[in-house]
Amino acid sequence: MTSGTPDVHALSGAYALDALTPDEARAFEQHLATCESCRDEVRSLREAASALAEPVADAPPARLRDNVLAGISQVRPLPPVGGTLADDEAPTGITTTQPDELAARRRRRAPAWLVAVAAALALLAGGAVVRSVQLSQQLDSVTASGADIAQIVTAPDATTSTAQVSGGGRAAVVSSESLGRAVLVTDGMPAAPAGKVWQVWYIGDDGAPSSAGFVPDGQRTAVALQGDLGTAGAVGVTLEPAGGSQQPTTKPVVAITV
């Protein structure tokens, strides 16, 4: 390996030990998607790393069992990845003005969580009716994380905060403290200029930012933020070079207290 071409395969050990930063881990996961030998190696190294839990095993206090079982009774397990949305609850109270067959199919398939996102979008739009067809189309870009979005916005303790975006549009954060997760919903934010992205940050109580992902392209978007809501007191969005930054390099266009 030369200094100019770092050998990405060599990161398998650090990755299996969770010793990469979130950005490095994401980059390595992109490599894993295309490298079967690394996938196999990571799988076996993870098994080895997990064995390190044996020598430190330590029976928890009995209250942990009670708390865990009480906690799970409040939350539904997520559906399998790639599972059909058709099994989900049908929406209520949302109508479509496009009676074509495709729209009808989309309407039938719109799961309950879309209704919740629609409610957040409606809040942004000042109560205007949000059509599920529009929503389905807009949310096509985030299908993979749709189940996460569903889990967060339908959590019993989900709360919504909204704010104006400097430069146009509005944004809302739907957060669930019990899950430690949040969804960012935007409406009418201007597209990022070429070579730039809108990067989302969790802002800790001490003001320290940590990257939480990116705003998807589109007029109306919803994205499940990466990482743990933790002690974040706010969610901010900044314009960053494509690929994102380690730390914000521009002034936030919006900061939403959660």
């Binding site: 390996m1 060599a10 990161l11 398998s12 050990g13 650090a14 299996a16 030990l17 969770d18 010793a19 990469l20 930063t21 196999d40 190696e41 799988r43 076996s44 190294l45 993870r46 098994e47 080895a48 790393a49 997990s50 064995a51 390190l52 839990a53 044996e54 020598p55 430190v56 095993a57 330590d58 029976a59 928890p60 206090p61 209250r63 942990l64 069992r65 708390n67 865990v68 079982l69 906690g71 799970i72 009774s73 939350v75 539904r76 397990p77 997520l78 559906p79 399998p80 990845v81 599972g83 889990q151 019990s178 899950l179 430690g180 800790g204 940590s210 990482g227 743990d228 933790g230 002690t231």
Partner: protein, 202 residues
């Protein structure tokens, strides 16, 4: 209706997890994914010492370790349908969730001072040698410790600083004052040696 603890099956190691336990965990995860809380209670009973112990070892603070373990179990419950047995054992999948939450906690929560204290504690010696009175899997623990002993000193140092200490590879490089590339290699070679000593299927 109270959920009864499962009969105490002797826990097995993740490295060479007994086939019975491994299959049991897979079945319990599948039932959990369909909302079976009794199955999840049994899953908890079979794994709680490992999950809690790992969180405790990384996070150190007992109250925070309990929080991490509880959050991890909630995530395991939520994600149970996403477990794919073709991509590794159920126990490794669960412990990965626990470990990631634990390192997230120590990396995000601490001040520079607390971090220094953490290193001072890690630097006290090979802590994997400390046998906890509560360890329920003495023989398997001994097996893992023996496997750890098969690593070179520098490999063991890099692996345990990362896994038990929760440090990133850059931090480990700084702590040991060696180049990043060297640390990456020690971590990978160390885990390969650990894997082979444990007899994990490659």
């Amino acid at each position: 209706m109270p959920v009864q603890p499962a009969a105490s099956t002797p826990p097995e190691p993740s490295g060479g997890v007994g086939a019975d336990l491994a299959q049991r965990l897979v079945a319990l995860l599948a039932r959990s994914s369909r909302g079976d809380e009794h199955a999840f209670a049994e899953l908890y009973d079979l794994t709680a010492s490992r999950v809690h112990g790992l969180a405790r070892r990384v996070v150190r603070d007992p109250a925070q370790a309990e929080e991490v373990a509880q959050e991890a179990y909630l995530e395991i419950w939520r994600q149970s349908a996403r477990f794919d047995a073709s991509r590794g054992s159920a126990l490794a999948w669960m412990l990965t969730i626990v470990h990631r939450r634990a390192v997230d906690r120590v990396r995000s929560a601490e001040s520079a001072q607390a971090r220094d204290q953490r290193y001072a504690a890690v630097g006290d010696g090979p802590e994997y040698d400390v046998v906890d009175e509560e360890v329920t899997t003495r023989m398997e623990s001994a097996r893992v410790r023996r496997a750890l002993d098969s690593l070179t000193e520098v490999q063991r140092e890099a692996v345990t600083l990362a896994y038990y200490g929760g440090y990133t590879h850059r931090e480990v490089a700084d702590l040991l004052d060696v180049p990043l590339g060297t640390v990456k290699t020690r971590m990978r070679d160390g885990l390969i040696r650990l894997r082979d000593a444990l007899g994990v299927e490659a």
